[in-house]
Amino acid sequence: MNNIILLPVLIPVMVGILLIFLRSYGRTQAWFSIFTMAATAGISYYLLEKVQSDGIQRLDFGGWAPPFGISFVADSFSLLLVLTASIVTFVCLMYALFSTNKLLQTMYYYPSVLFLIAGVNGSFLTGDLFNLFVCFEVMLLSSYVLLTLGGAKRQLREAIKYVVINIVSSWFFLVALAYLYGAVGTLNMAHLSVRVAEAGQGPLLTTISIVFMIVFSLKAGLLLYFWLPGSYSTPPVVTSALFGALLTKVGIYALFRVFSLIFNQQPEITHAIIGVMAGLTLIGGSIGAIAYNDIRKIAAYNVVIAVGFILVGLAISTPNAIEGAIYYLIHDMVVKALLFLLVGTVIALTGTAQLHQMSGLMKNYPLLGWSFFITMLSLAGVPPLSGFIGKVLVSEGAIESGAYILLALSLLSSLFVLYSLLRIFKNSFWGETIVGKEDQVPLNSRFLVPCLVLVLLTFGIGLGTEGLSAYVTDAAETLLNPDIYVDAVLEGARP
């Protein structure tokens, strides 16, 4: 029993509720949320260290032992993601402090962000499949609010699509849960792992697993990403940065957890399907990323490419590939937030999202330009930035297991990422300066500071890979050996 595991969920929820009562004090709300996220990040780091020394931590709600009660389980994989999510949200809120207008602040913007992060952290930490559904819903409901806040026509149009898609996929999730409970009689993830292994994952269970795959693919944007570019490119900057950084990652996390812990008996079917979907996602995302002139759309398609790339790691499932996928997952949360913040800043400065209507920003805002340049290199996987190690390890895994098509696709997609962002860089930062030094919109350093923090983080992750590797190795080992997880959850209760 360790109540601290709950705090990354409990603290944001409690503060979020308190902020509802402080509705009219916009600035106060912002500071409260920033401190909350700093505290959450600190706690998750403490927990991560504790997992390294004492093994996987568990909390049984109300003292009901698994598999009967609901448990929160914290292993390195969960905590790495919780920590990254908290830090990214912290930085995004710093940006929000100065960019959101009064109207947005008093319309429950900050409580919604806090509930969103509570749902995200809850999804990472829960050890129960139904509870995962609940945390998904908490996250999605807050995202509906955040997506529609502001109420521009474009925003509402995309929100309708987003809400409908997610309600349908939640319904599928519920149906899959019912099937699974009917088939094996439990929803505790560790217990499911044992039961599915005992039953031998026959055709029935594999079919159920594919229903889960469809659900999580919809949330993660794996192949079923048609809703993503629209809805991620319409809301205010900070919201789309949070969405791009966090939401798809929850779906990816669920895919990793479910297909490494529970449905791991038939990789020639399930993992092969994931591999095909990941490959198609890479192709589709790459085409999308170079097809548009709207820089927000380009950024959104870059999210899609990353999803495909990370799931190549799951499809291959060798130790190297899984480790690489985890590195890349962490890297992508940081850098996607950075990309969206930078793109948002560019749009705020130029007043347009069209590539051809801006030029020569480098003269006006050199620091912004170089930040964008570093982001581009990091996303393309150039050492010593954070994207490098993930790409190398996933590629090594692909070579080991002979998955040459996936290898080729994932490496080609890096080129497309580079090309798509280079287009933005060349068109909007290079070239003739349209606006003179005197007439330029002043770039407030308060917008730039959060971006620079994230730039430092991408350098930090890249250069500090050595320090990170202990955690990532442990996370990958737990994913590859479900027994470690199962033993920690069902200690003593195992038949």
Binding site: M1, L6, L59, G63
Partner: protein, 140 residues
């Protein structure tokens, strides 16, 4: 044209009282029998909705001067803090305890901390349902 709604008003006045009583009954019986905070809250919310339907919202708002958004927030706060309280006594989150007390009128009564959690749920449900209904009805 003004609709003659004397019958509706009279029946509602009695009906609201019955519904509220039934709601409280369901809420309390939930400990060992069907019922509980969610169902009790739903029934209580119907009483408020009936009031909003019968009388105009201005009258009702004057009689019940609460912001229902705040009520639902208060409910969630109550539910979470009552669940978090055991953490300060070294118990897992959401632990419950109960005891038997001799109360003046009821005699020996079981009092359980889960009631605090359930009242949070009930408040949340009331707040949310009334909020949804009034926001829909506000639209032209």
């Amino acid at each position: 044209m003004k609709i003659n709604d004397v019958i509706l008003k009279t029946v509602s006045q009695a009906g609201v009282l019955i519904i509220l009583t039934f709601g409280v009954y369901l809420f309390l019986s939930g400990h060992n029998q069907p019922g509980g905070g969610f169902i009790g809250g739903l029934v209580l919310a119907t009483a408020f909705v009936l009031m909003f339907l019968t009388f105009d919202s201005e009258t009702v708002n004057k009689a019940i001067p609460f912001d229902f958004k705040k009520i639902s927030a208060l409910g969630v706060l109550l539910a979470f803090s009552s669940s978090a309280l055991p953490m300060f006594f070294g118990q897992p989150f959401m632990s419950q305890t109960f005891g038997y007390f001799d109360l003046p009128i009821f005699g020996k009564t079981e009092l359980a901390t889960v009631t605090l959690f359930e009242s949070g749920v009930a408040l949340t449900v009331i707040g949310v349902v009334v909020n949804i209904i009034t926001s829909i009805s506000e639209d032209e």
